[in-house]
Assembly symmetry: C2
Homo-oligomer: 467 residues x 2
């Protein structure tokens, strides 16, 4: 037998009951499956709230010690529903949105506009107008085109609060970071100063900047040039699922330096700096997530040292933990449909375990080769374990849920199987591939369960088909 429960990567509310079956938030998975069916996303409310609190407290404490304020933003893109937006706001977080749709959910949850940010590299006029109507606290602008577009939509009487997203050349994700001069990606404006004289042709000449300015500096100057915009500050984001905190320190230094350069150039010392986030979580047993207290202290110490070097007072900061709030709080509950031993070329056997969902409810294994952990949760097996691969029911050989995991040799049709840490980017990236309706998101709290997002039905799908 083998079980990693309780413990990471499972949410803190996951435990084994007296008879060996698993409970989440005090709810037995068998009763859960009877009531809500499978597949289903199970969201551990207490765990999610505790992670939100832990991040807010860790950063507030660490930054208070250096005399700076800090806001923590929840990443709506990871998973957003009305209830979850309300929960994280109740825990003192603000909400980052990336589209009009995410903005609509946050507003419906009662999150005040001032506590909402709007991201995105290609906001439509309608999305910008809607954000301004809602009085969002900040719009993160991403290109010179967009700076003009937001300015055109705002007014001198009601200037739009904007942050300029810059790229620092620091890329992180996983265990190391890399640093490049230029970033070959769609987001942000580079802080790298041009090396070729033709650069101004590329970025477009602006009256208040010259050919020696970086795209980021030009963006900041372009914002200052428009009285319909209020320059809140500078935003940088270096990656996602980051487990090595040193990249944050390098990026923070680059952004604070840019802030000082802008002040020297224009006399404007911007009030806020967003250090991004994308803090990594544990997906597998034995993996260690970033610790909120540790990352908060490291980043606070780093920005304080940089500000001292630069001789500038500290701004207000914001950070975006990303999946670290909702990712570990969720799991996906499946029912096993078929078990098939397949001999592979090295002579060994791999047991293919098919579940009643798949790449439609979790595209990350196929999309990124993401690794997950699974366990039989409806009972405690005492059988030996076998090398297994958990696959879905879709008509595609790449439809893999868990590439490799040891499961009890007696795993069989009807078993309930849970995949850990699917709270982020599971439901939010789900599709109806093969006309499979998407699973519900069900919260478990203190022994009771409640659907936050209901299960789709075949009628929902067919309602879009006009025949």
């Amino acid at each position: 037998m083998s079980t990693s429960i309780p413990g990471e990567p499972w949410s803190t509310g996951v435990a084994r009951g007296a008879d060996g079956a698993v409970t989440v938030g005090g709810v037995d998975v068998r009763a859960f499956a009877d009531e809500h069916g499978t597949p289903a996303y199970v969201l551990d409310e207490a765990d999610l709230r505790a992670r939100a609190r832990a991040y807010r407290r860790a950063f507030e404490t660490a930054f208070a010690e250096i005399g700076a304020g800090v806001d923590v933003y929840y990443a709506g893109k990871a998973f957003l529903s009305v209830a979850v937006a309300r929960w994280v706001h109740e825990e003192g977080l603000r909400v980052d949105t990336a589209t009009g749709g995410e903005l609509a959910v946050a507003l419906r949850a009662g999150v005040p506009g001032a506590d909402i940010g709007l991201h995105g590299n290609n906001k439509s006029d309608a999305e910008i107008a809607r954000a301004l109507d809602a009085g969002v606290g900040r719009i993160i602008v991403d290109s010179l085109v967009e700076i003009e577009r937001v300015a055109d939509a705002a007014s001198v009487e009601h200037p739009a609060p904007v942050m300029v997203r810059v790229t620092t050349g620091v890329h992180a994700g996983g265990h190391e970071y890399i640093s490049t001069a230029h970033e070959d990606q769609k987001f942000g404006l580079s802080i790298a100063v041009p090396t070729a004289t033709s650069e101004h042709v590329v970025a477009g000449a602006l009256s208040s900047s010259d050919a020696a300015d970086s795209p980021a500096m030009r963006g900041l100057l372009a914002v200052l040039a428009r009285p319909e915009l209020r320059l809140l500050g500078i935003h940088s984001h270096i990656g996602s699922q980051i487990l090595d905190p040193s990249g944050f320190e390098v990026a923070a230094r680059a952004v604070l330096t840019l802030r000082a350069q802008l002040a020297e150039r224009t006399g404007v010392l911007v009030d806020e700096v967003d250090l991004g986030g994308g803090y990594g979580i544990a997906y597998l047993p034995g993996e260690v997530a970033l610790d909120p207290d540790r990352i908060a202290k490291d980043v606070a110490a780093s920005v304080q040292a940089t500000a001292t070097d630069l001789g500038t007072p500290l701004p207000r900061f914001s950070i975006e933990p990303g999946r670290a709030i909702v990712g570990p709080a969720g799991l996906t509950l499946y029912t096993v449909g078929t078990v098939k031993p397949v001999r592979i070329d090295d002579g060994s056997v791999r047991t293919y375990v098919s579940v009643d969902g798949g790449m439609s409810d979790n595209i990350r294994p196929a999309l990124y080769g993401a690794q997950y952990h699974a366990e039989v949760v409806g009972r405690l097996s005492t059988a030996e374990t076998v090398l297994a691969r958990v696959v879905g029911k879709h008509c595609e050989s790449g439809d893999i849920v868990v590439h490799e995991v040891r499961l009890p040799a007696d795993v069989r049709a009807g078993d309930l199987l849970a995949v850990a840490a699917t709270g982020a980017y599971g439901r939010s990236m789900a599709s109806n591939y093969n006309h499979v309706p998407r699973p519900p998101v069900v919260a478990v709290t203190d022994g009771s369960s409640r659907a936050l997002v209901r299960r789709e039905t075949e009628d929902d799908l067919l309602a879009l088909d006009l025949g």
Copy 2:
């Protein structure tokens, strides 16, 4: 200036009008965008029907010459709506479905059950019952567990017509095929005979088979052992987006050999063999799709030669062209939102062109690194071209629509941009990532347009959120 229109990879109904703007099926893309909005999937009905006809005629002709019948199945997973199921059936194709949802669409289109197949490695009891109720022409069974499950759901009076899916060790996709002894994938039962004495422990002992039998042979014997099942034949599928036809010939020989072995063993010479499909299409200018006439002739010659060698009469065949019917018939129409030149590390500049959709409406570039072709279609530009990357509006740096394409240097916000050959696996794998509603699928025919699948609305999304 540079335009690949008309020509591959565009559907045959794509042309440039008198003023340089593009028309599809006689509909000007500007008028289309005014009426239906963007992003939108545009489906060229005449092109789709012509491809369905071309495949049916090519295979009917080539197989008639060797004295064998053949059925052509449309792959519902590529894209299925009620109208499209009706069209392909009107053109003489049958419809393959992979789930209860796809089955529901085909039935709603009026496709008779007898002309529908049900695939899938993990069919639920409900899906099996529904398929039997509908009198589907064939259920492709995928594992020993499933053989018993289908048998249990059927009756001796109304036996279920089944084909056994086998794996031949032939993998194809792109320009070459490979051959392995065992296939490390979820689909099918291997034709490879066991080399280890422990194999029977793995696959489970069956009374009518012994330890020296391949999993495929055991599956066939298991079907014959159940009077509730009618063994139609053997099914094999070697991959997708296949451009080298030689893999089909190797696989066909393996399957026909297995059929002869089963006849020798049991006296039962099964009536049908499905040779699979997954025929490759052109995604980029200069790529050459498999030619229906050529592949039909090659496969017919190959199976005839194999049957002669084996001394067995030919069965009825079926083939599954896959994306080759709907893929080239579709394009996605976007509106450009922002244009941003980004200097990359080699000193050159890449122009990032953001459109109003992205990985939510076409996950294939992110999922498979799939290459697509794009063109500005609302006007004919005479500008020089620049190296561009078309990206979406999602909050993710991997949100790429076209990795690399040359676009006119004057590409600008408001331009209509089309991406070719998105008819397959575009809408069918679409998500609501970032709460972006999915685009409509609009058919264009003889100068008029009609939505087959309507655009999702924010209300559709919020209707699932229970607050």
